[in-house]
């Protein structure tokens, strides 16, 4: 009986999904400043930001056992920062800030080249306070925050780049009357896009309903702190 229980236990341990042993990759980033990844059928896609006088944004693709399959320099000039990567099984997008432009590069599966989309330009005097992107069947959803003063009049802005289009649409000043709408995050659910942002110490969200094509009211999620919103099934999570 004990043997049977032991066998069952060993089988359970063996069959239960688990974290594989950590792999130290050959990606060497001694001045790492930002790290993001997205996975699809082709592997694990990574973007990094190196901190330097001009910054560099790098793209790497790992296979599922941690071997580097591709390395591409995305940006080496113009103090690029805040890279984010998103996509689907057949789509990859990297968005980041470069100077007073929001740059998005889309991977071209035919040419194996990262094509740059039309940049979004903001006021060159503006302070920049973060960017996020997410992709779904409605296209690329992009949010970023910028404004003329360090801690006031920072706006969180939303854009959508529909699949097959050649320009952004659906621009929205999501934060509107908020004082300091910084560090935005964006996530999607079945019928909505959810934008989270930090407003003078208060975590807030605002949703767009794609069925009614309207932005809903700003909601306060938590009374202090920077937060990240994330859509999981029928629930919207806020982490602060």
């Amino acid at each position: 009986m004990k043997k049977i229980l032991l066998i069952i236990l060993l089988l359970a341990v063996y069959l239960y999904p688990q974290w594989n042993t950590a792999v130290s990759t050959t990606i060497n980033e001694p001045a790492l400043f930002s790290l993001e990844n997205f996975a699809n059928k082709d592997g694990i896609h990574i973007v990094t930001q190196r901190s330097s006088s001009s910054n560099s944004i790098m793209y790497y693709r790992l296979n599922s056992v941690g071997i580097v399959q591709a390395t591409t320099v995305i940006e080496t000039q113009g103090y690029a920062e805040f890279p984010n990567i998103t996509g689907a099984n057949d789509a990859l997008y990297i968005s980041y800030r470069k100077g007073n432009n929001i740059i998005t590069k889309k991977y071209n599966y035919s040419t194996n080249v990262w094509d740059q989309l039309q940049p979004i330009t903001f006021n060159s005097q503006d302070n920049f306070r973060g960017i996020d992107n997410v992709y779904d069947t409605r296209g690329l959803h992009l949010v970023f925050a910028s404004g003329p003063y360090d801690h006031q009049d920072i706006k969180t802005k939303y854009y959508r780049y529909p699949i097959g289009w050649y320009n952004y649409t659906d621009y929205k000043d999501v934060s509107e009357q908020s004082y300091e709408a910084a560090y935005p995050t964006v996530t999607v659910s079945a019928n909505k896009v959810h934008v989270g942002f930090y407003d003078s110490g208060i975590a807030k969200t605002r949703d767009k309903n794609f069925i009614t094509n309207t932005w809903e009211s700003i909601q306060t999620v938590y009374d202090h702190g920077i937060h990240n919103v994330y859509s999981g099934g029928a629930k919207l999570f806020s982490f602060s």
Binding site: N28, N37, A39, K41, A182, S231
Partner: protein
């Protein structure tokens, strides 16, 4: 509400990194003294914490495909990015079906499916898709399963050339498909069944399964005054069967209606017609065929 003290947010104001999996779980990772993984399940709530790195990882990111998780992280004092995978069982291959593949005069089972999205299946050059088969006489006992193919992670079809005359007959073949990842985790199996065993004429007679259009010679021929004409229809549609004299004048309309696929027989009574050669013509879809018959009084 979870109540945790996390280190951060860092310069990118990242508090957590999150990813959803196909089993309706929302996973997060976040740094405390360690890098922690937890997931939320609607029915059971938050899981207990699981340490995925014993270091303080300032930079971290989580992503997923199907039920697999992929995380990359790096400490401030380190320079090499660390990678870990939560290796779950693959999803069952979707859209698994069997159709008939014609090669020459024979017909073989062709299995097709959608490739899995897990990168640890796509990466495999063999043993990513296992196909097993068992057979039996109709309503008989199944044979034991036997593996007939171990395919790469980028193969999405397989033709079984060892089973002939597929699509109808007195035997059945069942094909079981399983996806297996690099960690040897197996997906749930998918199964399809197809009949096989007869040649085409036998199939039509025994099972009524029709693979093609046909117009048969009338019987008897010569005839007086009536004869039977058989024909086969491959797909549902408008069917016309008409009789003409040798000058092309329409004599009779035997069929003019929508019919489902099948084998049909119609009687032609020529009691009011003079002796001679007559022509009958079948039309359905793009199919047309003509045959002659002789009335002798």
């Amino acid at each position: 509400m979870l109540n945790y003290s996390v280190y951060g947010p860092g310069d990118d104001k990242r508090v957590i990194s999150a990813a959803n999996t196909a089993d309706n779980k929302t996973h997060i990772i976040y740094p405390t003294y360690n890098l922690i993984h937890r997931y939320y399940n609607v029915s059971t709530g938050w899981s207990s914490e699981e340490v995925i790195s014993n270091n303080f990882e300032r930079f971290f990111s989580l992503s997923s495909t199907s039920n697999d998780l992929f995380t990359v992280f790096c400490s401030s004092g380190s320079s090499n990015i660390i990678y870990r995978q939560f290796d779950a069982a693959p999803l069952a291959p979707s859209d698994y079906s069997v159709s008939i593949h014609q090669s020459g005069s024979n017909y073989y089972p062709k299995l097709t499916w959608q490739l899995n999205n897990e990168p640890d299946i796509r990466l495999k050059t063999s043993n990513a898709y296992k196909i097993e088969r068992r057979t039996r006489p109709l309503n008989g006992s199944w044979s034991a399963w036997s593996t007939i193919a171990n395919l790469s992670g980028t193969t999405s079809s397989y033709i079984d050339y060892t089973i002939g005359n597929a699509g109808g007959g007195d035997r059945e073949a069942e094909y079981r498909l399983t996806a297996i990842d690099i960690g040897n985790n197996s997906s749930p199996s998918q199964s399809v069944i197809i009949d096989y065993g007869f040649n085409r004429a036998e199939k039509t007679a025994v099972t009524g399964i029709v693979r093609d259009y046909s117009l048969e010679q009338n019987y008897p021929n010569p005839f007086n005054p009536s004869t039977k004409i058989s024909y086969s229809i491959k797909e549902e549609g408008l069917v016309t069967l008409k009789v003409y004299d040798v000058l092309g004048t329409e004599i009779a309309v035997l069929v003019n209606e929508n019919k489902p696929a099948g084998v049909y027989e119609v009687n032609f009574n020529a009691s009011g017609l003079p002796s001679g050669m007559y022509i009958y013509k079948l039309q359905s879809g793009s199919f047309t065929d003509v045959k002659k018959m002789l009335l002798t009084k």
